[in-house]
Amino acid sequence: MKLLTSSSKAKTAGADFEREAVLHLGALLGVATRMTRNPTEAEDLVQDTLVKAMRARDQFEAGTNMRAWLLRILTNTFINRYRRGGLEKAVLEGPDADPLADGWVSASTMASMRDPESAALRPVLEAEIRSALDELPEEFRLAVVLADVEELSYREIADIMGCPIGTVMSRLHRGRRLLKTRLYSHALDMGIVSPEPVVGKRRVRGEGEDRDDPVSLAEYRAKKAGTR
């Protein structure tokens, strides 16, 4: 009789877990798609994550954030499967001694990049934002997706990525800066903003030839490679 009770209790717990875990399918698939950049692999990664989670469900502390817990399993599975040596290292190493430091464009340019109505960026195409995100180095991409898309706390992201909170902040900052720079140059191309990075002391409107500070990531990488 006792055995029967314990086994049927386990049965209910399994079914409950199944129901709750499936609620996070969309979030998991979103992160998996951004990390693998391949829809089929993303689906496999999510399925594997959920089966692993089901198996390890005793380790989940009830009352804590299940989505964050599942994302941790997903991240570890991703790293183990595709990146045996850990995440791809960031392209931009070293301190912020970088011509794209904050304060890169004027307040009015920043204002014209966003759309007050939708609170989002001005119709910069969704596809452009996705490809900007997909091109970020993995460490930055994961931090940005977890913070900005999944709205996890720094603490939760640090647990998932297995690094200190300070590292999370720095990855976020660098990732967002790369995104903003790339989207800014896209906005320039589209004529959404006019070319005027006046804030930097090295460049003044009208003296476009004096190119000390590159405006795009591609240009930045090329310049960096050239100075090595």
């Binding site: 086994s7 199944e18 399918l25 089901m54 307040a107 966003r114 969704e126 934002i129 996705r130």
Partner: protein, 286 residues
């Protein structure tokens, strides 16, 4: 950048993320009240967040097919767990597992009937092994013996971490890394519970094996699947006959190892069971 801006700049992102301590929040609020530039930076950051949130999910909505596939996988996993719980209960009532009974009988019968025939086979197998060993050791940089490779597998078995792949239907994805077909043999009838698979680099030979992990009655069982031409494990193990088949058996550091080879694919189990049980287990793989 003015100096108040310089102080505020590193606080803007944590502020926008709702991660700033209360005293700093007040500092940022005071600053942005008179600084259009920092205010705009904050606004732009928030707009970026909104855009990312919209864009990131737009091409990643789960399809109905996918949702159903996941639901099936989870139910299957739950059933596996329930079956295991049921088996445990049966065991608690003292019913022994079938294959422990089979072992002595099958091994004895097989040995007397076919030993003569297999001695020949065993010999030619050993010749093959020698060739392979020579090939392996003549490769530059490969100096270690097969014994060390067996040690590597045993260390892996003794310390193995969480498997990379737990879904049995995805295990065939390891095939390109291992170079031979990898499938999950059904060992359920022996009471083995599937746990998951990983790839194990065998450093000595610059070769990779798949490791399939099972648990059995509190024991860990690792089944290695590898290219038997590149990794002639049999050369370091003792031949034995189980169910009319040559099985190569040995032990290291208290773990027993038993290997069979089928159509160029090697299968080796590492367990802390006794070597007869390991041999029986590996012989049952089809």
């Amino acid at each position: 950048m003015s100096s108040p801006c310089r102080r505020a700049a590193p606080l803007l992102e944590p502020f926008g993320d709702g991660e700033l301590a209360a005293d700093k929040v007040a500092e940022v609020e005071t600053h942005i009240a008179d600084c259009a530039c920092c205010r705009e930076t904050l606004e732009l950051n928030q707009s970026l967040k909104m855009s990312l949130r919209r864009a990131a999910h737009a091409d990643a909505e789960p399809t109905t097919d996918f949702a159903e596939r996941v639901a099936r996988a989870l139910s299957a996993e739950r059933e596996r767990q329930e079956a295991r719980a049921a088996r445990r209960e049966a065991q608690d009532r003292g019913r022994p597992l079938a294959w422990r009974f089979i072992v002595p009988v099958a091994a004895a019968a097989g040995a007397t009937l076919v030993w003569g025939a297999l001695e020949q086979q065993g010999k030619s197998a050993n010749d093959d092994a020698r060739v392979s060993v020579n090939m392996a050791t003549s490769t530059p940089g490969v100096t270690a013996s097969l014994d060390q490779m067996v040690d590597e597998l045993v260390s892996h078995h003794a310390t193995s971490k969480d498997p990379d792949v737990v879904e049995p239907s995805l295990v065939n994805k390891l095939e390109p890394e291992v170079g031979v077909p990898v499938r999950v043999p059904s060992l359920q009838q022996y009471g083995l519970r599937w746990e998951g698979a990983s790839v194990v680099p065998v450093r000595q030979l610059n070769h990779r094996a798949a490791s399939l992990r099972y648990s059995f009655d509190g024991h860990r069982v690792t089944l290695y699947v590898y290219n038997s031409a590149q990794f002639p494990l049999r050369a370091t193990l003792e031949p034995r006959v189980v169910r009319n088949m040559p099985v190569y058996v040995g032990s290291r550091r208290g773990y027993s190892i038993a290997a069979v080879e089928k159509r160029g694919v090697g299968y080796a189990v590492a367990t802390d069971l006794d070597d007869r049980e390991s041999a029986e287990l590996v012989a049952s793989i089809h």
